[in-house]
Amino acid sequence: MKIIFLSILLLTTLFAQSVKVCFYTIENNIKNFKSLKFKFDKYLSKYGDYEFQAFSDKSTFEKYINNNNVILILSSTHYKNIIKTKKFKAKFIALKNNKIKDIEVIIGKKNRELDGVITSAHSEKYTKNLLKGIDKKLSILVVPKEIDALMSVGFGMSDFAVVSKGSFINIQEINGFLTKDLRIYNELNSTYRIVIALAIQDFKNKNISNIFEDMQNSENGQYILYTLGIDRFIQLKVEDLRYLGGIK
C-alpha cells in the first residue's frame, strides 16, 4: 500500500505543472530578461514549484494565460482591459516612494516650443499613448533608463523627456546644476503602477501572498524590485481594486 502511495506521489510530482509567474508590460524597457528570470526563479524556488516567464508580445501573453496555471504581473491599464474577459483578480500593487500611482511629466529646458526629439524609457508604443493629444511634432527616442532620458535633456542631446515626476524630483537632488534650467511642461495622466493578478481560487493562498509581500527581505527579491523600478508590492485596497475593475 505504502509503495503504491509513494509511486502516486512520485508520479504526481513528476508530472505536476509548475505555476508560471507571467510577466508582460510595455511600461518597463527591460533589456535583461535573462538576468531577471535567473533571479526570479531563484527567489521563487524557496516557495515551491513556481517559474518566472517573461513575454515580449501582448497577444502571446494573453493566449498563454487562458489555459495555464498562472500568476500575472502586468500594467494596471492592461489589467483593466483584460479583466472584462478573464477571470483574474488583482491582489498586489507596486509601491514606490510610498505611492501606488505615478504621474508622467514632460520635462524640457525653459522657454522652448514643444518640438524636436523627446526621450523616453518606455517603449515607443506606450510613449505614443502617453503623448496622445499633446503634439505630433515630437520624435520619440527610446533610451534604457529614466535617468538617461533626463540627462539627455540636461546635457542638450534631446529637447524633451517624458519621465515619472518622482524621477525628476530625484535627479534634482542628485544634480541641481543639471536641472536648474529644466521645467515641467505637461503633467500627463496619473496611473496606477504595475499589479499582480491571481486566479480567483488562488486569491487567499497564503504562500503566494508571502512570495510578493516578502520580496524586499531577500537579496534576490530586492534585485527583482530594483529591476522593476519599484520599492515593494503591497495589497490593493478595495477602492483601488474597484477602480481597476476587479470588483464588479
Binding site: L141, K145, I147, D148, S167, I171, G229
Partner: protein, 290 residues
C-alpha cells in the same frame, strides 16, 4: 499632359534621398546591436552593405556606382572609406573610438562612443555617498576628456585630480589615490596599453580601499566597482532620429554624445571596499556583475 506627369515624376525621383547604411563588420556584436536597433527604428528605405569581406576596390566601385545622398557608417573602417571616396555626401557615423583623431568634414554628423562626463559623474553621485574626489590618469591623447571632467565636476562641487603621463612608467597610482577618493579609468591609449600596469592599478586601489569606475564592463573582472558604458542599441535609434530630423530639415547638433548608458555594478567589490551606497530612488543599474 503626359510630358508634365513624367517631368513631375522625374523631379520627385531626383529629390528622393537615397540612403546607404555601411557596417564595418556585422559579426562584431556592438556593431550588430547598433545596426539592428537602427533597422527597427528607422521608418524609411535604405540600402545596406557589410564591407567586412570586401576589398578596397570593391568598396570603391560600390560607392561610386550607388553614390547615395546620405550614408550611415558603423565603425571606423566604413567611415574611412566613405571619407576617402565620397566625402561630399551627407555622412552620419557611429561606433568609432576616438573619432576626433580621424579626418572629418564640417557637414558630417554622428554620435560619439564616449558618454558625457557630466552623465558619468551624475550616475556615480546617484549611487555612491561620500565620493567627491576623482583621480584620472591620462596622456596628451585625453587632455580634452579630462578638461570636460573638470568642468562637469566644478558644477557638481566635485574635484578631479589629474595625473598626466608621457609613458606608462610615469604612472604613480599610490600618489594619485592618496589624494582622491576614487579613480575614473578612461579609454586613454597609453594608460590601457599594458595589462600588467592595469593589474597594478587595480591591486593598489584595492589595497587603499578606493573604488574604480571604468568605461567598459570588461574591467569588472579586474576589480572595478562600476562600469558606465554606452548602450549600443540606443546609438542606432539616435542615428535614426538624427537622419529623420535632417530629412525634416529640423535643427540638430551635428556631433552628439550618446543618450543611452549601460551600467554594470559589482556589489561584492562595493562591500569589500566598504563603500557607502545611497538608497537611490532612481534606477541607474542595468546589470549586476556576478
Amino acid at each position: 499632359m503626359r510630358f508634365i506627369l513624367i517631368f513631375i515624376l522625374f523631379i520627385v525621383y531626383v529629390q528622393a534621398k537615397t540612403i546607404l547604411v555601411i557596417n564595418s563588420n556585422s559579426e562584431i556584436s556592438k556593431y550588430k546591436e547598433t545596426e539592428l536597433a537602427f533597422r527597427n527604428s528607422f521608418k524609411g528605405e535604405f540600402s545596406f552593405l557589410d564591407i567586412s569581406k570586401m576589398s578596397k576596390d570593391e568598396i570603391k566601385k560600390y560607392l561610386y556606382d550607388e553614390y547615395p545622398n546620405i550614408v550611415y557608417t558603423i565603425g571606423t573602417r566604413a567611415y574611412k572609406y566613405v571619407y576617402k571616396y565620397i566625402p561630399e555626401k551627407k555622412v552620419f557615423f557611429s561606433s568609432i573610438v576616438n573619432w576626433k583623431r580621424l579626418p572629418k568634414k564640417k557637414h558630417f554628423s554622428g554620435v560619439l562612443v564616449e558618454l558625457h562626463s557630466g552623465m558619468q559623474l551624475t550616475m556615480i553621485n546617484s549611487l555612491c555617498l561620500n565620493i567627491k574626489t576623482f583621480g584620472i590618469v591620462y596622456s596628451h591623447y585625453s587632455k580634452d576628456v579630462v578638461s570636460a571632467f573638470i568642468n562637469s565636476a566644478k558644477n557638481m562641487n566635485f574635484n578631479i585630480v589629474g595625473q598626466e603621463i608621457k609613458s606608462i612608467k610615469d604612472i604613480n597610482i599610490d600618489k594619485l589615490l592618496n589624494k582622491s577618493d576614487s579613480l575614473i579609468l578612461i579609454a586613454d591609449p597609453i594608460v590601457i596599453s599594458d595589462k600588467n600596469t592595469l593589474k597594478n592599478i587595480f591591486k593598489t586601489a584595492k589595497k587603499l580601499k578606493k573604488p574604480i569606475f571604468a568605461y567598459d564592463k570588461i574591467f569588472l573582472k579586474y576589480g572595478a566597482m562600476l562600469s558606465i558604458s554606452v548602450d549600443n542599441p540606443t546609438i542606432g535609434r539616435q542615428i535614426a532620429t538624427m537622419i529623420k530630423s535632417y530629412l525634416d530639415k529640423k535643427y540638430q547638433k551635428n556631433i552628439q554624445y550618446p543618450v543611452g548608458s549601460h551600467v554594470v555594478f559589482n556589489k561584492k567589490v562595493a562591500e569589500e571596499l566598504k563603500i557607502e551606497l545611497s538608497n537611490n530612488k532612481i534606477n541607474i543599474i542595468d546589470e549586476f556583475s556576478e
